[in-house]
Symmetry: C2
Subunit: 428 residues, 2 copies
């Protein structure tokens, strides 16, 4: 869990440290900012996730002997020695986990010496870009699902460690459970499961398989009913488990139509409390389309763990201010027409109407934007203070924050069609 994160880093960060040590600039006070230039095309809001994991990664960013051994060919002896005693001693502020974000939201503000802050670039971006992509997709899915639970089942369709982070991010964005067992061990995300087609095929008959499952796991279990013939399997399931069968799972076919048929059949068999869980390449659009079908829960896999078309957020980590020759801080930004950066330390608040509806993302350059006193919320909180992590919180806190943050966004977020960000970003 806490193995070193120090090599989850790009080669150039360490050679830049070496060169900056040579030119006497490595210790210049610096402010880096992690931010999005835009939302993924057509998305109306994004969701910050990975904050807790990023804090863990900062704490575990130490170069052990194995790491230093590899780096002997990368940097000089003086830099190696500096890396050997590396420990981030600066300050970090950021949007708390679960918060909504918009273009140019200053999601993280990292202040320290240039050398200590630049080496965190890759690992912070990796975590934020991945986890926020998953949470952003997940939030649209739970929004589309309304009161029906969404269950994360995508581990098999993404890198095995990304799967654990995806389960965590989906939980922040309102998923109720995951299939991923490591997510329970590491982050306390509750798990659940049904059965695979292989379990039915293993047995000499579907009846044998259902009996085995119900006997072992109880009548509250979820039977997978589409291995052979759905209607026959539903009949058999209730025969074996009785009308208190917990749920059936549908994993193929036209889910809306089949769910209607299965609901009618279950009701006719007296199994009015037996739930219908659907799976099979669901995304926010198919979940929305199933709103009128008698479905009691959604198991979501591939489209969740791949960010539903947007597997990464495109966050960047840019130097926005640094100490000058005379010790004062100087705002800096590269000049590029196609990749705009805005120099200067940022502050942010969400402007809200008197009735609590979000109206704008207000980003202050060099100073906090003025709170107009009728419900605006500052967005940056302290995460690391003089090298000590101060922003850790229970995952459920992030999950509750997300629900509140999403609830105050204008209703147009419910449109699943492509569109502009639901509130504008204003720089002041």
């Amino acid at each position: 869990m806490t193995r070193s994160t120090a090599l989850l880093t790009d080669h150039y960060e360490l050679t830049m440290v070496q060169a900056a040590r040579g030119s006497g600039t490595a210790d210049r006070r610096s402010v880096f900012e992690l931010f999005p230039r835009r939302l993924p095309e057509g998305r109306r809001y994004g969701v910050v996730a990975g904050v807790g994991r990023a804090l863990d990664a900062i704490e575990a960013f130490r170069f052990d002997d194995a790491a230093l051994g590899v780096l002997e060919d990368v940097v000089d002896a003086g830099t190696l020695e500096w890396l050997a005693s590396y420990r981030f001693s600066g300050d970090v502020w950021g949007y708390p986990e679960g918060e909504a974000y918009f273009p140019y939201s200053p999601l993280l503000v990292v202040e320290g010496t240039f050398a200590e802050a630049v080496v965190l670039e890759t690992v912070l971006l990796s975590i934020y870009n991945h986890d926020s992509a998953i949470a952003s997709a997940a939030s649209r899915m739970t929004l589309a699902a309304g009161d029906r639970p969404c269950i994360e089942m995508g581990s098999r369709r993404t890198h095995e460690e990304a799967a654990v982070a995806a389960a965590r991010a989906a939980y922040v964005a309102g998923f109720t459970r995951t299939s991923n067992l490591a997510a329970q061990l590491r982050y306390g995300v509750p798990t659940t499961g049904t059965a695979a087609h292989s379990f039915t095929l293993l047995h000499d008959s579907e009846a044998d398989a259902f009996r085995a499952q119900v006997e072992s796991l109880g009548v509250g279990t979820t039977l997978l009913v589409d291995t052979y013939d759905v209607a026959e399997a539903v009949r058999l399931g209730i025969e074996v488990a009785g009308p208190s069968l917990g749920a059936v799972r549908l994993d193929s076919g036209d889910l809306g139509v089949v769910a209607e048929e299965v609901r009618a059949q279950l009701d006719a068999l007296g199994a009015t409390g037996t739930r219908i869980l659907v799976t099979s390449d669901l995304d926010e659009h198919s979940i929305a389309a199933l709103a009128v079908a008698p479905v009691d829960g959604y198991g979501v896999g591939t489209q969740l763990v791949t960010g539903s078309g947007h597997p990464t957020c495109g966050f960047v980590y840019k130097l926005v201010a640094r100490e000058g020759d005379d010790g004062t801080m100087v705002s800096v930004a590269k000049k590029s027409q196609d990749k705009i950066s805005i120099g200067g330390r940022k502050y942010a608040l969400r402007r809200r109407s008197t009735s609590g509806v979000a109206e704008a993302e207000v980003v202050g350059i060099g100073a906090p934007p003025a709170d107009d006193g009728d419900g605006d919320r500052p967005l940056l909180v302290p995460l690391v203070s003089r090298g000590e992590v101060v922003g850790r919180e229970p995952l459920d806190t992030a999950r509750e924050r997300h629900a509140l943050s999403r609830a105050e966004l204008p209703r147009t977020i419910q449109m699943m069609s492509h569109g502009e960000p639901v509130i504008p970003t204003e720089h002041v």
Copy 2:
């Protein structure tokens, strides 16, 4: 590196083990197959990657005390005990790493008891689905790049551990280097790097930054020249480093046009050997479009680590045969119109013409397909034998295999447009 992989697993696999133990079917001899139903839309071939990582994961699949603690709420005491002593004791055959694949290629054939083979489902799929997605995209990029080197720089745009696996998979598919330092430590992938805009902005002038970099890293270094004005930066770079400057990097603008201008300027300055490296959201299409530009290397990030539009392969892991009541093996498959599976143990060979060009992916059901004797190649090799890993090999072997496997595919693979698989799959 070798921490337990046992919880990188879906909840239902363990409850299925429990239920199968109850019905006396857990020890039935079973054959599972990992395969694709199709290639990603429009792709003409896929590339198998992750084999070596999967073998590591099988070896590390042991339930330690922390894992067993979590599972107390998932399975019963007898199953917990079984898990505590779990060790895969079966056999695995598979396509070796770097090999091309096509729809229904039997990429892995796992034989063991039902219980010992079913629990590997998620972790094997996670590794294969991710790593092969990256390698498949990477192979198209290196194909488009021809003799020019491709460098993997995408760590920041994907999960921090997926990044390491992506660097490894890209190397298999012909990338020459990565920016990811952990990929060097774990897999020996060579690393490289340039500098970020932050390094230029840290200094009081671009000249100061270039001097610092050249003094520390030598004239062979790569200077990033688009922080302010490209032409001025190129002039300055050669003034500082001399005409032996290793390379310049362009990261914005119309790369083809700018590369032409920079090449002319470098040549005029006598820096005829200074290379031009381009980066900035490259994919196989933009690499192909730059073929006529004076570019010496491509740094590829986001589009590589997200599989260039296809971040996962959609591989599935299905029970295809299992022991029956009488001890003989029975072929099994679910009946589903939209998700077709074919029962029975599979074998495969690549049919090649007498001149060595691939003609078909021939999949034998229940028996190896006949080799017609003029150059056909069997595709499955032993990977695990009675629980012992026998298929481990150096990463460079996989890299060389990929080059050979790709070279024997019909020339139409060079078409970057959408199309059908370049050879048909035939079941016999």
